[in-house]
Amino acid sequence: MRIPAVLLSRPVRIGVPGAALAVFLLIAPSSFDGYGISLMSKALALGVLAVSVSILAGYSGLPTMGQAAPFLVGAYTAGVMSTHGHTVGVLQLLCGTLVAAVFAAATGLVAIRTRGVAFLMTTLALGELTVTAAGEWRSLTGGTDGMYGITAIQPLPGMAALSSDRSIYWFVLTATVVVIAVVWWVLRSPVGKLLLACRDHEARMRSAGHPVTRYQWLAYVAAGALAGFGGVLMCTVNAYVSPDDGSFSNSALVLLAVVLGGAISPLGALLGAGLIVATQDWLSGPFPGHGPLLLGLMFIVAVYALPDGVAGIRFRVPKRRGGPA
């Protein structure tokens, strides 16, 4: 596909979709009903998860199938806090992020030792184990029935509880914008260069003296923390947590979102997540029961027709050159 150079320049590539997304996020709620608004909130929470996947799959060259696990950990942390009367939103976000980071630090020790398909499989297994554990640990999680009775949160201590879909949306949007801004800022710093270099040519990084495994573990922990943040938001939106939130299909969906959005673009990952929620919930009206089929078709189309993703940022990892002969 030939694209004019102007359209690929940085301001256009990021500015146009960014501005469009901002306008949509600010204006759309006023014309949507409660259901539509809560779908948007859900898309944002899933979008945070998608960004965490893009940090690993896009930036670090670690295609993960298990990011729904720290997402689940974050969501349960928020759920447990709510049912125990800790309903301050910011505090839930902090704790959910922290617990998910600890979880990722531990699972990362196993996952980071593997590469490629083995990494995919290991993260998949870790994800499924987490889902199973959540289903079994009834006293904490309510088992496979899920966790009910999660009360509305107050964003900050002393503020009123968020009672409407609309107010929850604004809270989720604010939190998402803040966390994505932080991610953006970090990825555009020398830290992002380190990750990209590891992805470009890991062996060369080691030869140059970089402790690649440590970098990737740290990226894994950071991505886990971010997924946990998204999980807390999901709990806030749904007022319900169940093991399904961490299911394989959720992980796969989010990887799809990242592929659709362009793997190294946080913005693209958000857009991809939006697209997925839209497809899943709106297109299943005219095509009832065919949601997964539609998503599968989208995946195939995305990989073949849009290697650069929706946001026009390269998805396919550049071909490796050289290596010790």
């Binding site: 710093s189 020398p190 030869s207 003296g209 050159r321 010790p324």
Partner: protein
């Protein structure tokens, strides 16, 4: 022979562990790299390196030559820690590094270039150099933008040495082969190594590129130990003071470039491969 005490005094300011270096140097022989019984057999059954005993003295310019498949690249890979030997030991500066990872060896001061120049293709040329210098630089907190800029400014000298200043902002993946070769060399220099391993650095370079490479190699601090694998005997005699000839993973001969050029066994080894190289050897005699 370099005076050992001057080595510790001259360790570059960017070197990661100058203090441990000077501590080691006082007690150590002049052999910077020493391999004994070094053997590498690949799983296919190829014996790429078969029981080599070699020493590379500190502060000298060593060349390793030999026909294709002689095991030259494998030897560099073993010294750099890219490969684990099947048998034998490797000592670096008096210390056994046979089981030391390549990351650690790099941090101890062994840098290398690759026969196929190897760079980080999505990053700019300047970033490639800065990231290559990163683990060896004393600048603290390089993950911060300001500090990274300090590092990048310091690294401009390596862009200059490699003659790629004009390409600084290009993505490394967009470079031509010769440019990528010079970048690979610049990256190795940016590590401010004590041992520099160069795998066919002149291959694919223009005459101007070769000139620049020669200048860069002559400008290296005297205490740096260089091991260069190269086919072009004219280049070898221009830079090296000792030449080691490998054939089928075994040591065939070692000596000064003039001695090697006159060696009958070496001529036979090269003649066995092609008629081109002996001409180059003859020119030197």
């Amino acid at each position: 022979m370099t005076d050992v005490s001057s080595v510790s005094a001259n360790v570059s300011p960017g070197s990661a562990d100058a203090s441990s270096v000077s501590a080691n140097m006082s007690s150590v022989s002049a052999n910077m790299i020493e391999v004994s019984g070094l053997t590498k057999a690949f799983s296919g059954g190829t014996l790429a390196v078969g029981g080599l005993d070699l020493t590379f003295e500190a502060g000298r310019r060593h060349a390793v030559i030999g026909p294709n498949g002689a095991g030259k690249t494998t030897l560099l890979n073993l010294i750099a820690g890219e490969l684990r030997p099947t048998a034998g030991r490797i000592r670096y500066n008096g210390r056994d590094v046979t089981r030391t990872s390549r990351v650690k060896r790099s941090r101890l001061g062994i840098a290398r270039t690759f026969q196929q120049p190897t760079v980080w293709s999505t990053l700019s040329v300047a970033d490639n150099i800065a990231l290559a210098a990163w683990p060896h630089s004393k600048v603290r907190g390089k993950w911060r933008r300001g500090r990274y800029r300090t590092l990048s400014e310091y690294c401009e000298r390596y862009l200059e040495t490699a003659g790629i200043t004009a390409l600084a902002d290009r993505p490394a993946g967009a470079l031509a082969h010769g440019e990528r070769r010079m970048l690979d060399i610049g990256m190795a220099l940016a590590a401010e190594p004590r041992v520099l391993l160069l795998d066919e650095p002149a291959a694919g370079l223009t005459d101007q590129g070769v000139e620049r490479l020669l200048t860069a190699m002559r400008a290296l601090p005297q205490e740096v130990t260089v091991i260069v694998v190269e086919h072009d005997f004219a280049f070898v005699s221009a830079v090296a003071d000792t030449v080691t000839v490998l054939q089928d993973g075994k040591l065939l001969a070692t000596g000064t470039p003039t001695e090697i050029a006159a060696d009958a066994a070496v001529r036979t080894a090269y003649l066995g491969e092609s008629g081109v190289v002996p001409d180059a050897v003859e020119e030197v005699v």
